[in-house]
Structure formats: C-alpha cells, structure tokens
Subunit: 424 residues, 2 copies
C-alpha cells in the first residue's frame, strides 16, 4: 500500500535527480555543463532519506530528499516529508551562529522536500573515523563552539521573549521526529518491545535487569518529560557522531531534521554519550591488547574538552550578550548584583551539566538495547567481546542517569569511564 | 494617532452592540423580542476590553470585545485583538475539563474579536466579595477542582506528545499577553520604572531595598525563565480573585485571555498569592481591631484547602488517567514500580508546590510595587494603615520566593502569614 504524498512530490532516482538539478539554474551552473557530463551516486546510508552526490566539470553538490517513510524500515513506518522543511529552517538558524560548522545551503524545494547543499569533501562521518582510530585534534574546540553558539543564541538568555516564542511555534510541528526520540530513546529500551534488539544471549540478563530497575526508569521518565516540555533553545536534536562530518581541520554538523526547541542538555549530552560509547567500543577494535590506549586517552580528553569548552564559551556569551528577556541585564546593575549573578550562572551551568549527563546515559543505553545501534559496537564481530564492551558502556550509562548529581565535574566522568574500562 | 485594525473590525458601543446581537440568530433568540426591548450596559471595569451585559424579555447574555489597546492606558499601549481568539480557545479547552466552572460560550466572531457568553448572575467578582468580608464556603473545593482538572488534562501526564505539541503551537502566538506578565510581574517591580507605583513615601525605602536585593532578584529571574520556557500545561494565565466570579454556591473562572502553555505553578501560585494579599489587606478594612479575625481565619483555611485539594485531585487524576507520554504507564508495571512511582509523584508535587510559592510571592509583590494594584489594598484609604498591611504582604512574599524550599507544606505558609500578621 503506497503512502499518499502531496501533489508535486515524487521521489527522485539517480536518473531523475539530474533532470531536476538541470532545471535549477544556480545548481546547474555550480556543476557546469549539462547532465550528460555529471556523475551521480546515491549515498544515503542512513535510515531516513535519499542522498545524492552529483559531480560536474565545474563543481559538485549534495542533494538530500525526504522519503515519506523510514527508509530503514520501509513503508510500514510513515514519516512526514515536512522534516526536510524543519532541517532547512534549522540549517538557516545554525548558519547564523556558526556558519563555518554547517554545510552551505544552495537551494530548497518545498514541493519535493529537497535540500541542495555543498558537498562536504574529503570529510567523512566522524563515527567512521573513530572506529578506525583517527584523531581529530580540532574537533573538541569546533564542536563546543557550535554547541555554545547555536544553543546560547536561540535561548531566552539571548532572545527577546517574542522571538523565542516564534521559534517555538516554527518548530513545534516537528512532532513525528520528536516522537522517534520519545519512543526509541526514552521508552522502548526500558520495556519489552519488538523493536528492541541486543547482543543475545550475552546481554539478555542485563536487559531484563534494566527493565526492572525502577530508579533508572523514573530518572529516564524525568528526562523524557524535560525533553517534551522544557523549551530552552533550538536543538539540533540528533547530535551524535553520525551527524558530524570531519577532516583533521574541519568539523561540519549535518542532518538537523530532528530540530525543535528543547532542553540544551539533550544536544550536549547526546554527543558526550556517543563519544563515551565509542570509548567503550575501542577494545573491540584492538588487534592486540592496549593497541588503542592512546586513542582511548584522546577520546576522554575530547569528552572533557567538549564539555569544558562548551561551558566556557556559553558563559562568555552570556556575559557578553545578555540580550534576552531571561535574567534581564537591567535588573542586575547594582554593585552587589555582579557576584550574585556570577553564582547564578554557575548554578545554571551545573544544572545543565547534570541534564547533559542524564541525556548522555540515555543515548548510551538506546544504542545498546534499543532499535538503532551504532557501528562502533556493531562492527565488533565476536559477540562475547562486543557484549563485554557494551556492558561497561551500560554501567556508566546507568550511573550518569541515576547519579548525575554525584559527578562534580566532567573529569569525574572520564575518570569513572577509565576505571570501568580497567575493571575487567 | 489611531491604531490600525483588520478589515471588518469595529469597536462596538452600547448602541451598536444591539444591532450586532440582533444579526446573530441564537443570541437574538436567547434574549427574546428585538433590540428595542433590550437593556444594555457597558460594565468593563477591567483594564483591557469592552464588556456589555444585555438583558431581554427571554434571557440575558454577556458580550466581551477586545480593543486594540490596553483600556487602562489608552492607545499608547497597543495590544493585539487576537487575545479574544486565545480566550475563546482556552474557554473551549477548560469547558472540556471543568464545564461547570467556566461561563458557557454562546458565540465567537473572529472579525470583531468578540465573545458572547452566558451572563453570570448573581455572581460577583470574588475580590469584591473578599473586600466586603464575604465567606465562600464552596470556593476552595471548586477552584482546586478547576485547577487540578484543567492543568492535569493539558499536561504531558495526560496528553500524547503530539497533542501537547499542537496545544503549544496553538497558544504560542499569545506573545503580547505573555509579555505583560513578563514585564509587569517579573521585571518592572525590581527596577526603577515609570510604570511602577506604591504607597509613597511610606514604602519608598522598602521598594529601594527590594531593588538592591540580589538574592530576591535572581530567584525572580529564575521564575521568569520558568514562565518563558517550561511548557507544562495550558494555563489560565491570570488566575487571581479578579478573574473569578462567585456566589455562595458557585465559582466561575473568567477571562483566560492570557492563556498559554506554561508552568503549572504559575496558575496555582497566582491564586494563592492573591488570597494571601487579601489576608494581609483585611486589617485595613476593620472598623474595630479584631473585627475580621474570623474572616482572616477563613482565608488561611481557604489557602490550605486550595493547595491540599489541588494536590489531592491532581494526584488522583494522575493515578486514574496516566494516559500521557510522560511517565508512560507501560514502563511501570513491575511490582516494585508502584512504590517508586508513588514517590516520584510526591517529588513532582513537591517541586510544583515550591514553584507555586515562588509565583505566589511574585504576584504579591507586583500588586504592591508594580503598575496594577489590587482593590484589596487600594481601598484602604489611610496611607499609613495601607502601607503597614502592604509591608507584611511584602515580607511573606519575599520569603515565599527566596525560601520556598523551607516551607514543608502549605500549613507552614499559613502559620507564617499568621505570625507576620501578629507581629505588629
């Protein structure tokens, strides 16, 4: 049974995409010549969309088109085409705050739900690089800059209330993609659900214990409620190492189709969680014990620098641009106010840190016991070895969720990760 | 300079409203006969709108029309007509959950931004009744029922996420009315602002101290941020004793034009704050000391019963209708889950209680040091006497905001109010 689509929509193929691109002058000119001279590849390895890379004599570009269903699953799981509109809106907003860290948008087609963007080359998906043990020395600085700027400037700390509310309104229709997060991250892994999978039978008992862990389930439910109701800032919404393309010099954040106004800690935490999961997966990629010690150390250093860099820059932005209707600057002009406001900012960042740890933990669990797993672990062929890595990952995840308040700073988190990695 | 209004809009007068009502068959029929037999009075004592009461041979009704500016101030303070649309939407939603506690809507005109409703008679504005020392024995039970049901059933605890997001979207355009709250409640009273006024010179020093009170200002700023970003449930948005009409038997909540999706504690707290302000105002209405002792005791009993009744019913609804995407029922079906979930609900209510106390405090301050004052205090003719009442009110307000966590329950709040009332 085919899904109904709006008039004017048709899914493009490697053939038809060239005809389309030819009809859009700026895109045609970017490629040079005409379609007969272009090389097209569909590269959408992902779960949701068609992605075409088109190369011409003068240049290249990337075309991303939404399909009316989840590609990974098929027509049995319909998904609104409008997510392309939300992705476009989010890219425009992010490019205002961190233009060097997102792909340049060349064209948006509202009938085809299609985005044409610069092609990122030689960038690769960061997750791939981390599985291969590649170091990205500039990553932590660049991504913390992206997070601090996109999240600060779309928060009530920077925006007048009316603009913030307009932003909430613009993105609150992205319901179905939020629902994927609500179900797959915050719900399914904690119950018996046909969508769940894990390394079996090795993790059967662990998965069962987790479904009976009332303290964990309540802490996750609390985070889910925050996700659904706490409209702090415009989030990327799917901020993991699969949504980041890198070279040694550059970082580009892609695929913000899950964008909506939600809790800041969700973006930050999802990234930290995916880095920590990569950390625990490294042993599975070693051809001899200790081979990846230095790489592991780099990952933990990156975790620390991502948080510390984010916190430092977010606070600096708050001090430099207190332009929002929250904590209005004109209320804090008395001499005694400066110190008190400084303490309040620290308190705010402390709460944000705890949020981030909790959300990090939920990402680590869903990638181990839920529907969508990460290649970081999946590519560990031997089940017992993979399960050992996954078990360590799950242990830290639970601690981050249930005992977030016990971690005084990010160094305690990386110390704990290292200790768990040593234990067995 | 006249404010531009949309085509088709015209402000009605006592004369033209009858012609309009005649043209709407159900309204005409309700009144009986024709306009020549009707009696019209404009009774909008309020700050924002035109309100007509029309009586005919067969029945009566109330017509409320938005003006394109704040009536209290004039055309210098424009205000969107669309607030009538939000009021209508909110009334429809509230009537689903508490039909006996809101006026029945008879008609909405989207071009005139006009609502026709049942006329409430012999109901009076509750604030008026409290100034006159009238007891409303059924009020606490009825209003706590209204609060519990309207707030629970529009929260993530009861709603699927998609319906909740649609509700956020429907109300997030009510920006200008939210801004009134953001400015007049959470900002102006804490700074030098031409809109502020107070009993002068008696409270000059108190107002000055408050502007230098960093702990208070930060606590208020935190509440303001919650107001702007925490989308817990559909609020009435202006839940004070001036938005409630009562008889001894009935309670009706009117005027939800400030409706939007915000923190639950704001509605509950605004009501508690206005009751407490009325409590502190009573001494100013005594013709001999102690004359209102019994009435004061009734107010404090009402404060306790409003909170306790709200909490009891909200929790009962949560247990009986866990239909929302927050704390999904299917995650908590293990035997050990029930107790843990019970504790979590208590924790949730505890947080909500602290929110309510903070918001109560901000209401008590804005009505003493900001633009809009309450008749409760304003009708105390002698300034020194009024100032003494206001000073007690401000003391409790500050404690509720800065030390909310120190109040274990609502009884501690009313004990503290009584102690302050005794002190001087």
């Amino acid at each position: 049974m085919a899904i109904e689509t709006p008039e004017g929509y048709r899914a493009l193929s490697e053939h038809s995409v060239c005809g389309y691109v030819e009809s859009v002058a700026p895109l045609r000119q970017r490629l040079g010549g005409n379609a007969s001279a272009w090389r097209v590849r569909e590269v959408g390895d992902g779960n949701l969309n068609l992605v075409f890379i088109i190369e011409g004599p003068a240049g290249d570009l990337c075309v991303k088109q939404a399909l009316p269903y989840v590609r990974l699953v098929g027509e049995g799981w319909p998904l609104p085409l409008e997510r392309a509109w939300f992705e476009h809106q989010a890219l425009l907003e992010q490019s205002r705050h961190a233009p060097d860290l997102v792909p340049q948008v060349l064209h948006y087609d509202e009938k085809l739900f299609l985005l044409a963007m610069e092609r990122l080359s030689p960038h690769i998906i960061m997750r791939r690089g981390m599985i291969d043990g590649l170091v990205y020395p500039r990553f932590a600085g660049q991504i913390s800059h992206f997070l601090a700027r996109t999240l600060y400037f779309t928060s009530d700390l920077a925006l007048p209330a009316a603009r913030k509310k307009a932003m909430i309104g613009r993105f609150c229709g992205n319901t179905e993609l939020c629902r994927i997060t609500e179900d797959l991250i915050f719900t399914d892994p904690y119950m018996v659900h046909e969508r769940n999978r894990w390394t079996t039978p090795e993790l059967d008992e662990t998965a069962r214990e987790l479904r009976q862990d009332a303290a964990l389930k309540l802490a996750v439910a609390r985070l889910k409620l925050r996700f659904m109701s706490d409209a702090q800032a415009l989030l990327h919404g799917d901020m993991h190492t699969g949504s980041i393309m890198v070279t040694e010099a550059e970082t580009k954040v892609i695929d913000p189709e899950f964008a909506f106004v939600g809790p800041i800690g969700f973006d930050v935490g999802k990234l930290l969680g995916n880095l920590l999961l990569s950390y625990f997966s490294q042993r599975g990629h070693e051809t001899r014990p200790g081979e990846r010690d230095a790489y592991r150390a780099w990952i933990l250093e990156t975790v620390r620098e991502v948080w510390d860099g984010f916190e430092r820059e977010f606070l600096a932005l708050w001090r430099a641009h207190p332009t929002g209707d929250a904590y209005p600057a004109m209320l804090f002009e008395e001499p005694a106010d400066a110190a008190a406001l400084g303490e309040e900012r620290s308190r705010y960042m402390r709460a944000l840190f705890q949020d981030a740890l909790g959300f990090a933990g939920t990402s680590m669990i869903r990638r181990t016991l839920g529907l969508a797993h990460n290649a970081d672990m999946e590519e560990i062929a031997e089940p017992a070895r993979r399960a050992a890595c996954e078990r360590r990952n799950l242990r830290l995840a639970r601690e981050l969720i249930v005992h977030a308040a016990d971690f005084a700073d990010i160094a305690r988190v990386t110390q704990r990760a290292a200790a768990l990695e040593q234990e067995s």
